[in-house]
Point group: C2
Chain length 141, copies 2
Amino acid sequence: MNRKQDTLRRLEEDEDVWVASADPDGNPYLVPLSFLWDGAALILATLGSTPTGRNLRATGRIRIGLGLTRDVVMIDGSAEPLHPDEVSDELGDAFLAKAHFDPRKLDGYLYFRVVPTRIQAWGEEYELKDREILRNGTWLI
Amino acid sequence: MNRKQDTLRRLEEDEDVWVASADPDGNPYLVPLSFLWDGAALILATLGSTPTGRNLRATGRIRIGLGLTRDVVMIDGSAEPLHPDEVSDELGDAFLAKAHFDPRKLDGYLYFRVVPTRIQAWGEEYELKDREILRNGTWLI
């Protein structure tokens, strides 16, 4: 298995990720969300009033699970809210095509951009030792 | 779909859950873990020195994802560490049979017990409205 290629394929083709966030008091939250991979970052969108929206606005801290529990990609990074001016027509249209909803037309939705700073990928337990495949934004394999 | 039956079936048969926790400063963590459903609680085990182990010991706050992103069960509850005296032979053996590893024989592993206080279950987005199926520990359906 080429874990880099497999990870990039999942980023291109998978429809959803698991998004973990927390409020400043340390209450964790978890929810599946649709996403778009723009080649360098994951683009997420959620209502600003949901726990995930509130947590990401408050702290920017996020950990993302992609794939299945036994064939998993874990992504660490910071979630940066996108100002509406930063959402180009191209980006908005690409998000709609991938996620099948259009936050530009929905009240109260925010886009967040997550540039991975660390990626771990592993299947079964025996692969845990070498699971880190991207560190400080740089591919290790 | 009977979501209660479907949820109980997943609790009995699924091998892994997604476990979100956070440290007291609000840094989220997420990892897949094997689990056992004992009829009333999820039993998890992890190294006390991992981020998940440290977070659960420090705060007890946990949110669990079960199933797939488009057929999902979200579980809120508190994670209580089990003292070794509380791990009966029956419980330890049942965990081994389900999770295929035996924390009793591994250094530094802790068991945690999570009694669900709230469960949400939904498939596609149209089911979001009635997604809460257990509240304050009581089934609503």
